[in-house]
């Protein structure tokens, strides 16, 4: 069983909600990045979403843009991201999802990517700018190597379209809570529950909700209706300020309290 599926099963059985942490691989350099990841995984993160740094991250806000830039300047590339996964995988069994832009994967080669990623211990891949219509590019290669292709759903996605794009999705659905790029927001959208109800009506997959979650309080609000909470920019900001462990614990606790 794919580690992702196993994780959801375990969470469900324990009656808990998931905590998905996004960190940019190689930010600010490979060594510190690895330390940050270990710190996050040690403090209760359920699923690691590892950003592959790209020169032109058009779906990302300023925090992740800056993280990508730092990572690129420290010399990070996709091969090294996979090396990093390999090292993490030796000590952790949380699922790891690569999060990246299609051009890097295209240039690396989809078949080669799927093979190398699976071998390194990756469990799923989320290609932020590869929508359902273009999934043919990569879907077969991922499936052949047992990797989940994680689908994105957005507030702009109609119910009809949701049915279509989730028809062959796997692992979980990443629901983008805001219309906007990644980055911290002031509050959680009020109609989240209704939105998720629509999603639940068309898919049995667990739903992770992200884009904009900043702190424990918001995480708790999201966890009230989602299967998991994704936090990214806020973690990166905390990591660079030396507060990563604290924030991870805060969010973990808030999520757990929200459902107890």
């Amino acid at each position: 069983m794919n580690r992702i599926d196993a994780k959801w099963k375990a969470l469900r059985e324990a009656g808990r909600k998931g905590f998905v942490a996004f960190l940019t691989a190689g930010d600010p350099d490979i060594k510190q990045s690895e330390a940050d990841i270990r710190l996050a995984l040690d403090n209760g993160v359920d699923i690691l979403e590892l950003g592959v740094p790209f020169s032109d991250p058009t779906a990302d806000g300023p925090v992740i843009q800056a993280a990508s830039l730092r990572a690129l300047e420290s010399g990070m590339n996709l091969e090294q991201v996979l090396d990093l996964v390999r090292r993490i995988r030796q000590d952790y069994d949380q699922p790891i999802v690569l999060f990246g832009y299609v051009n890097l994967f295209f240039r690396y080669g989809y078949e080669r990517l799927a093979r190398d990623a699976a071998a390194a211990g990756v469990d799923g891949i989320l290609v932020v700018d590869l929508p359902y219509e273009e999934r043919g590019e990569i879907a077969a290669a991922l499936a052949a190597h047992g990797l989940h292709r994680i689908a994105l759903a957005a507030p702009t996605t109609s119910k009809e379209r949701l049915g279509m794009i989730l028809s062959d999705a796997a692992g979980f659905v990443y629901y983008i809570m805001v219309t906007g790029v990644t980055g911290a927001r002031q509050s959680v959208r009020e109609d989240l529950q209704e939105r998720l109800a629509v999603l639940h009506a068309v898919t049995d997959l667990p739903i992770a909700v992200g884009f904009g979650v900043t702190n424990g309080e918001q995480a708790a609000a999201v966890a009230a209706s989602a299967d998991a909470v994704v936090v990214g920019s806020a973690l990166i900001t905390a990591a660079r300020a030396g507060r990563l462990g604290d924030l991870v614990q805060d969010i973990r606790g808030s999520i757990d309290r929200a459902v107890s």
């Binding site: 020169s55 058009t58 779906a59 295209f106 700018d129 957005a154 702009t156 219309t179 906007g180």
Partner: protein, 399 residues
């Protein structure tokens, strides 16, 4: 040829965007298909092109260039005479009409040379819409007069400080901004690039450039077609509009002219086809300037409108099939051509257009006086005077 239903020209094109934007792209695709078949839409577009933009633009026989180069007869398609000074306005009027049809009251755009920004701000003023333009901080300096024009027209110009601070980053930033405002804002893309249906739509909204040229040339020549048609290629909109009309005329040689900057071998250029590789940038698959690993590389061109590391997917397709040949011209050659056209014809060309002229000059002598070359003079060079004079001054001082 037309893109297939999913927006692909052969291996190229497509819609490589985050899910948030997919619904709007589908909506635009549908609205555009309807508008294309709506005579009322086409009539309003045609009326504005004639009375507002000033179309048809002339096809001008450049006697003194012809004499000076001593070869083929040279014709200039005078897009520089359009309202706002370049071909860009054709497309922005088309997209603004579509936006209005879709009930959007806000426009946004990226811009490099500022021509597309001005053209979008103009269309916004004409239709009483709001307008935001994203422009690289570097280009804001290079193309100062256009920034002032946009502001006078009531547009908000956002200075983009990320990356190379040029067109590429302006477009990335515009895509980010669009995601956040997609529900009431129409993104007016300025070239035949971006996700489907933009490359098709922009080409179609520029196609009158080629259709007119073809008709005008047939009229002038008593039924013959030109031997060569040249256009500069940044994102590729003026070239696509020109080439689309001649695509089926297989005797007509089509040449797209990219910006070779300091020279392709220096790595400092903007020639995505001549010096790039297949990749995915800003929503479509095409030729892209990138590292081996797929990181997008900085383009360089003296001309802000060509200073972009990608190219529209239909050009990639045309390059692959061989229907269009793509050549590249250096900064130096383009500057030379800028002065040649200015001094011999009294027409100050855009630096972008000067690239096409420079290539034509190389070809003219290979052809006899019984051959004809049509150059798309995509815009006027008023916006480039500061740049050209600065370069001249720097050269002068370094001597």
């Amino acid at each position: 040829m037309d893109a297939n239903q999913s927006g692909h020209f052969g291996d190229f094109g497509g819609r490589y965007v985050a899910e948030t934007l997919m619904p709007v792209l589908t909506e635009i695709d549908k609205a555009y298909a309807e508008a294309s078949n709506d005579p009322a839409f086409q009539a309003e577009f045609a009326d504005l092109l004639e009375h507002y933009v000033g179309r048809p633009s002339p096809l001008y026989f450049a006697k003194r260039l012809t004499e000076a180069w001593g070869g083929a007869r040279i014709y200039l398609k005078r897009e520089d005479l359009n309202h706002t000074g370049a071909h860009k306005i054709n497309n922005t009027i088309g997209q603004a009409l579509l936006a209005r049809r879709m009930g959007r009251r806000k426009l946004m755009a990226e811009t490099g040379a500022g021509q597309h920004g001005v053209a979008t701000a103009t269309a916004a003023a004409l239709f009483g819409m709001e307008c935001k333009v994203y422009m690289g901080a570097e280009d804001i300096v290079r193309q100062a007069p256009n920034v002032r024009r946009m502001e006078l027209l009531g547009a908000q110009v956002h200075s983009v400080e990320s990356g190379t601070r040029t067109l590429k980053d302006a477009m990335s930033e515009a895509l980010r901004a669009w995601v956040a405002e997609v529900e009431d804002t129409f993104y007016v893309i300025g070239s035949a690039a971006g996700p489907h249906p933009y490359p098709t739509m922009v080409r179609d909204f520029q196609r009158m450039v080629g259709d007119e040229s073809r008709r005008q040339f047939l009229g002038i020549s008593g039924g013959r077609l030109p031997d060569v048609v040249l256009a500069c290629v940044g994102g590729g909109s003026n070239a696509a509009g020109m080439f689309a009309a001649f695509e089926q005329d297989t005797d007509v040689k089509l040449i797209g002219v990219e910006a070779a900057g300091y020279g392709i071998s220096t790595g400092k250029h903007a020639a995505s086809i001549a010096g790039g590789q297949i990749g995915i940038l800003h929503g479509s698959k095409s030729y892209v300037l990138q590292s081996e690993e797929g990181q997008i590389q900085n383009a360089h061109s003296v001309s802000a409108g060509l200073d972009y590391p990608g190219v529209g997917p239909e050009h990639a397709f045309w390059a692959q099939t061989g229907r269009v040949a793509y050549h590249a011209v250096t900064d130096e050659e383009a500057l030379e051509a800028f002065f040649t056209v200015t001094r011999l014809e009294g027409i100050i060309p855009a630096l972008e257009s000067a690239h096409a002229v420079a290539e034509a000059q190389k070809l003219a002598q290979e052809y006899g006086a019984d051959k004809s070359i049509v150059i798309n003079l995509s815009g006027r060079g008023d916006k480039d005077m500061e740049t050209v004079l600065r370069i001249m001054k720097e050269r002068h001082e370094s001597h």
